[in-house]
Amino acid sequence: MSGRDPQLFARIEAFRRRAGRVKQERIELAHGGGGKAMRDLLDDVVKREFGAQLQDREDQARLPLTEFSALGTRLAFTTDSYVITPLEFPGGDIGRLAVNGTLNDLAVGGARPLYLSCGLVIEEGLEVSVLRRILRSMAAAAEEADVRIVTGDTKVVPRGAADRLFINTAGVGVIRGDLDLGAHRIEAGDVVLVNGFLGDHGAAVLLARGELQLNADVRSDCATLHGLVAELLNEVELHSMRDLTRGGLAAVLNELALASEVGMVVDAAALPVRAEVSGLCELLGLDPVHLANEGKLVVVLPARAAERALEIMRGHPLGREAALVGRCTASPPGLVTIDTGFGGERVLDMLVGEPLPRIC
């Protein structure tokens, strides 16, 4: 054995322990193959962008129960998958959406969100630079929301088996012991509030696809709502909350009305809609109440608390355009109607079919 061999061995071993680097411009199947290319991707892209948030030593994140029990009595746990074309759009991207959407699902149950997981399904051929930007955006959104992405998974599928990038996030949070929010609490006499303009996300994504040859300055409202929710919960008695996503206000109100067996009457004149969005809807025969949002919620609460709740919402950056848009009635149970202002009412049903494919 020559004297150089131990040094060579040490050099090779040191090199093996260096963080991997992705040299390709596009994701290849090998990046999901479990071998060295995959380690390169995880080291150079995923861990680099998520940074210290990830607990990467073991196959699972390990979270102290004491942290949970100090904050409340119940664990809130939710999951959502994000598939959107295009991946980046004015006001957000799929990464920010994947963080905020799941956090909002926790927040509207009254939970303080704490941890997220992140599952990536990447189509072969996705630009590495795009993936980096999106993961960086996820990390930033998580940091702004004061939650951590603690565990994840990455898969690469052959070209055509996915549409560029799909993201799944699951989230956990804790609900205070004294809170009981849900459709079962809704009763006749309650009022319905929203925290701002309807349909911004749906309109922004529709325009960003570029198929309509229309231009308008509309940005997605993608935002995390738990700060606003926490302020409301501190002061006001709420009965139920839902975040507005696909299907828009009409879908959420119909779900709530059916689950609580109360009727709901929406005041058409009170609905907050941006001029650009209502213009787009006019052109395309859409209704803003069916368009998606990603930073809006519906709050159902006793009428006596409405004024204070609106004050709190309007004092928060995500609630400046908050409005009282409807009331709950005893009959007809389960039905949402809209007062047209013309002396007539009509049924406001969920959208049928899918006029806006894949927008969240």
Partner: protein
Amino acid sequence: MKYVDEFRDPRLARSMADDIQSLVARLQDQGRERPLKLMEVCGGHTHTIFRYGLEALLGEDIEFVHGPGCPVCVLPVGRVDDAIAIARQPDVIFTTFGDALRVPGSKQSLLSAKAEGADVRTVYSPTDALKLARENPAHPVVFFGIGFETTAPSTALTVLEAEADGVENFFVFSNHITIVPTLQAILQAPDLQLDGFIGPGHVTMVIGTEPYRFVAEHYRKPLVVAGFEPLDVMQSVRMLVKQLVEGRAEVENQYGRLARSDGNRAAREALAKVFEPRPHFEWRGLGSIEQSGLTFSEAYARFDAERRFDLPGLSVADPKACQCGEVLKGSLRPWDCKVFGTACTPETPIGACMVSSEGACAAYYNYGRLAKLGRGPRERT
């Protein structure tokens, strides 16, 4: 929103409703029965009437009879089957307006053919389809041409563009139809009980008001060409009732801001160049109407999907349970149909009237069910 809100002012609508009420009272003094039956020919008007609750506003005075002007609704089952047969051919890219995707054929809709692998794509205009044809020269790209003189000119202009650019893989499956022969067929029905017509605003933008003259002169029925905002419809109703009070039967134009009385000559020329009337065209519910459909003229036959592809071309009867025919003729209210809202809903339509948002059944289902719950027209104040 500017230029829109002005046409949706509820206070103005109520004052018009009051005018109409007093005019109808004068008609009653003259011995005429209420409600007056006015047919809105166009599905766009049906949509406005329901969306804004105008029936409720007009109370007992006016009954709207919903006409045949919803192109998707009057598309017969056999033509949907033909469209699906084209879409299922290998390599074909079949393009359509979104409305037509869910119209049931005899076995399936375009949407279910798509789920089974047919390349069916939604477009917003025929020029989108032509663009697809340019981008996919190895694929025949077929545009599903449906609609009245409102959409037919854009199809014709697109065909002219394809010809000028030498695009050889672009075809149109024409189901374009014309309004005048259809009005004639309605007026010839022996059991006609209509007092007047709300005329189709957008068709008039193309054909002008002249072609309606026979309605007033031969059949002595007033016709007012109307816009599509709620106040347009209210004002048109008032104009119609006023004609009746004064014993006139004329063609009037409420929609002058967009529909000129001489129409759009360039659009008519494009239509005349590319298309010619078919001897007969079948309408769902109304049967075969002479000269009511448009097919390609000989000079443009190479764009005709019916000549390019082998089609079943069968005339298929409507499903037995479906009463779309009666609804389209105005002799049955949608909720008197046996399957309305149970077997036939917008999610699972049996008949085409339930598919399009302009269809009478879909409008009743989406907007009109309250009346059936005892929450119908409110008291006028």
